[in-house]
Every structure is written in structure tokens, then in C-alpha cells.
Amino acid sequence: MFRLALKMLFGDSAKYLMLVFGVMFATFLMTQQSSVFCGLMRWTTAILKNAPAPIWVVETEVRQVNQTIAMRDTDLGRVRSCDGVDWAMPLYSGVQNVRLENGSLTVVQLLGIDSTTFAGAPTRMIEGSIGALRQPNAVIVDDLALSRLSPDPKTPLKMGDTFEINDQEARIVGICKAMRSFTGGPFIWTTYERALSYSPPQRKMLSAILVSPSAGRDADSVAASIERQTGLKAYTNAGFQSSERDFNTATMFWYVKNTGIPISFGTTVLVGFIVGVAISCQTFYLFVLDNLKHYGALKAMGASNGKLCMMLLSQVTVVGLVGYGIGLALASLFGLAAIKNTQPPFYMPDVIPFAVLGVIILICSLASFLGILRVSLLDAAVVFRG
């Protein structure tokens, strides 16, 4: 009966393709949009990944990592003297203009790190070394900067090349891999002092203090004690939802709450769902209606409701799996291309394919429900009536 069900399904290739298309479309749209959303949310925390430190101390009003409210230089000393602090180093973080040789401007995310300890330095160097930052005018850039800051994208910058940040010279002494920033600009590391000189002067310049807890102390409790003793805000940095104080989590939730991003992505996901339901339910019901006469004949010939129900379910299952498979494959291809191209953001946590599969199962259940109801209520006696 299973083979029979499939043959009936494949036999009507127009409806079969339509059904697969509906499920595929829904799968692709939901997977791709959720992954781009997750990717975008991850981009919002790029600074935390690119300047890693167990604890980030920031101004009291700071709610997310892309928001910089400068602190006083004296705050650094206050944090250093806190209980449980192993080391505490200054960090400058700001968006600055780079003038390209052809005169156009582009924005970069400038990070100034402590010049003796290099706390907050990039972790994945491709070329050069972090120590070279001690040389005059030295900067380390991520690989995106090589093409972004080159006047001609076909000939990217290389080691030793120079460019200007706010009209002051910067020389590339290292190249690293880094996570893309939310603003889309490349990351540039230099020393804290040089970062200040690259930036327009302001009364307060200290964006954040990077802290490591002393041995045997956990980041959470040290962060709590820093907050108590200094009145500043101390976040931990151990990944999304790792703790109540996690800066990644706070940042992502801030964007979820305070921007239209989730709504716009959510709407597209909903559209995927609705279109999937509409196409699949309608087409499958039409398919069942088309075959109603045959289901009636099968019923007369002694096929039970259970058997007919299994036939419909196996048809829907095949359509669902094929459509889901193709949709997921397309979304993954899109993801691979996006990652290769470095944009749009794309991040597919394991939960997405499973959640989408759940939604597809829901769509298929809805689609088969009407058909099963119709076939179950069908009277076997109808076969004798034209």
C-alpha cells in the first residue's frame, strides 16, 4: 500500500512538484531568514569576540557592546584595586573614518589595546605578530580591511602598506582573521595611546576596561564585586546565555528589544510559514479530492480507514521530507556562499533546522488532516454511484 501511495503521488507530477515546491519554499525562507537573523545578532557582539576578555567593565549606562560611553582614566585604577581582579587593562573602541588613496572615506572599528600586555589583541593572526604593534604608526587589520581600505578592490593591501585614519598615517604590521562587525566595517587594532591620537580629542576616552579574575575566582563573582566597589557596570564574556551578566546576551537582547530587526525577520519567517501552509494544504487537499473516487474504490475493495490514512500520511511524509531536504540544502548553499562572501551575515545554530523541521511537520499535519478527514468520512457505497 505504501508503494501504491507513492506511485499515486508521483503519478500526478504537477501536484507533486507543487507540493514539494511549497514545502521547499517554506523551509528555505524560514531557515535562511532565521540564520541571517542569528548571524546579524552574532555580528552585534563582534567586538566581544575580537577583543576577548573574561570581564568587560563599562560605564553604568551601557546596555550593549556597540554603545560607548567613555569613563574617566582614573576608573582604571579603581577597577585594578578591586577584590578578585588579576589584571585590568584599558580598551579604546570607536568607529573612525579612513581616507582611501582615491579620496573616499570608509568607516572602520578602531580598537586600542594596552601596549604592554596586548589584552584584547586578535587571536587568529594570519601574518605578522602582535608585538609589532610597538613599532611607530603600526596597526593590525583584519582580512576584510585589505580589500575595503584599498582604493582598487582588485589589488588588496598587504603587509607594510599604509593608509590614513583621520588624516594620520597607519602602517599594516599584521593581518588577522576577525568576526565581522555589525556596522559592516573592518576591525583595526592599535595601541591604546595611538588609538587616542587617531581619534578626535575628547575629555574622556576610556571605552572599556578588560579584566581577568585572579586564579580560582569565577568571572561572575568578580564582576559582581567590581560593580559593588566601583559603581561601574561589569559584564562577563563567555558566550550567549552563559550567565545573567553575559555581555553577548545583553547585547543581542538589546537589539531584539530596541530595534525592528526581529519583527522584520519574524514577518518574513511568518510569510514562509503561511505560504508553505497555503500551498501545501491546498494542493494536497486538491490531490486528495482528485483521487477521492479511487480512495472510494479502495475502501469498497476492503481497505480500512487506517490503511487509507497511512497512504495519505506516507504521501505527505515523502513530500515533506523531499521539500524539507531541498529547502535546507538551498539554505545551506546560500549560507556557504554568504560565508565565503563574508556577507550577508549567516549563522545556523543546530536549533534552526530542527525547529524548521518541526514547523514543516506541523504544515504537513495540517495538510494531511483535511484529506484524512475527507477520506475517513467517505462512504464506500459511493463507488457504485457515478
Binding site: R3, L4, G11, N291, A297, A300, M301, G302, S304, A380
Partner: protein, 240 residues
């Protein structure tokens, strides 16, 4: 010669459709017997209840009152699910409109009753091919039904009706959708296949030209059986 064995017997069967004032009784106490190794044809004017009666005999419709024994089983006292299983095992169906599934091949169509009984397609296909061979369609097994003529399609339906070797075959106007020549050919083949001990066929028809293939003819009028005679005693002139 020993007494014929009863394959199906109905006693005082009544059936109504509709409810309240729109309720009409279609069968008014039918008594009928069908015997093994015979083809019983049911004749009667349109609307007299022939289809209703064979639906009840086949177990696809339940009577309001009366007793119904088919192949020894008391269908009137059985649950719907048991009757469904009973139909799958014991009854073959031939419909006026053939009712073949258009998206599968003829051999797959002919295998359907075995699939319903739970046999796998690969096991069922050899039986289906044998059955198609018996109706002279071994050339066309892989074709889809719509690639065949009406007569050939009805022969596929006969192969399907007989593939699981049922003891009762129910046919509603099997030749009504066919021209005279094809109708004769189909009945010829059907008759030949019925020459097996123990099989009983009940055939509803309007087509007087196929009455010659019957062993007995029952005439219905307005929900009652008015006559039931061996074909040799049937007054063809009177019914013309």
C-alpha cells in the same frame, strides 16, 4: 446432482434514504439467494434499487432491517471493521466506470486487492500478471489504463476483481460503458473465468444482450424482487 450451495442470502432486507418527511424506502423487504458456481443477473428499471441491493450484498452499505448471510458470515450482525476485512478477503468488484487508478500501470492496478490484504507489491505483481494473462492482456501489463480501450480497461478490472480469488464477485453494469461488441467480449471472458467451482457472481445490468451469460435472472421492480428464474426459463420476449 447435489443441491446448490448458497453463497449469499438476504431475508426481509429494507433500506431507506433520507430522514424525516424526506425519508423514502427504496428496498421493501428483499428476499434473494445467490448460489455458488452461478452468475446471477439482476434486472429492473432505473431507480428500482438494484445498486442499493448489491451494495448491501457486498457489505459496502448496511441495511436498515433484515438478515444477510454472505459466504456463511452474518453480515447484518458484524461490526463495520470486520465487514471491511471480510470484503478485502472474499469479494471482487467490477464497476461500471472501471475505477482503475490512472497514475499506476495495469499490473499494479490488478494487484490492488492483494496490496489491500497486506501483500507486498513485489509478491503481488506475479499474481496480477497471471490474472491479466487470463483476460488476454499480457501485452499491456506495463501500460497505464488510459492507454487502453474501454473494453481492455474493463478486462483489467476483471483481472483485478479475480486476482485474490474471491468467492463472491459483485458487478454493477459492467458493460454499460462499452459498445455492444466489447460488452460481449468482456462477458465472454468473464463467463470463462467464472467456470471455477465455488465462485458466485451477482451482476446488475440493463443490457439484455448479455443476459445469455447468466445462469439465473432476478427481476426487480420498485424495491422488490418480482421474479427469479433460471436463464433457460426466462421469457426474453416479455422483457423486451
Amino acid at each position: 446432482m447435489s443441491a446448490p450451495i448458497i453463497a449469499a442470502s438476504a431475508r426481509s432486507i429494507t433500506k431507506s434514504f433520507g430522514s424525516g418527511t424526506a425519508r423514502i424506502e427504496v428496498l421493501h423487504g428483499i428476499d434473494i439467494d445467490a448460489y455458488e458456481s452461478e452468475i446471477l443477473m439482476l434486472l429492473g428499471p432505473s431507480g428500482c434499487g438494484k445498486t442499493t441491493l448489491i451494495s448491501i450484498l457486498a457489505g459496502t452499505l448496511t441495511a436498515d432491517r433484515g438478515e444477510l448471510r454472505v459466504l456463511g458470515e452474518p453480515l447484518h450482525a458484524m461490526k463495520k471493521s470486520a465487514i471491511t476485512r471480510f470484503r478485502a478477503r472474499n469479494i471482487g468488484f467490477i464497476f461500471q466506470q472501471f475505477n482503475l487508478i490512472p497514475t499506476i500501470s495495469c499490473e499494479e492496478n490488478a494487484a490492488v486487492p492483494l496490496l489491500i490484504q497486506g501483500m507486498s507489491l513485489s509478491k503481488a505483481l506475479p499474481h496480477a500478471r497471471k490474472s491479466l494473462d487470463q483476460v488476454g492482456l499480457s501485452e499491456h501489463m506495463k501500460k497505464r489504463p488510459n492507454q487502453l480501450s474501454g473494453g481492455q480497461q474493463q478486462r483489467v478490472a476483471i483481472a483485478r476483481a479475480l486476482v485474490h480469488n474471491p468467492r463472491l464477485i459483485i458487478c454493477d453494469e459492467p458493460t454499460a460503458a462499452l459498445d455492444a461488441e466489447n460488452g460481449q467480449l468482456v462477458m465472454e471472458i468473464f463467463r470463462g473465468l467464472m467456470r471455477q467451482p465455488g465462485r458466485c457472481a451477482i451482476v446488475v445490468t440493463h443490457d439484455h444482450r448479455i443476459l445469455q451469460y447468466s445462469d439465473r435472472i432476478a427481476t426487480m421492480n420498485d424495491g422488490r424482487i418480482v421474479e427469479s428464474v433460471p436463464t433457460s426459463k426466462f421469457d426474453f420476449d416479455h422483457h423486451r
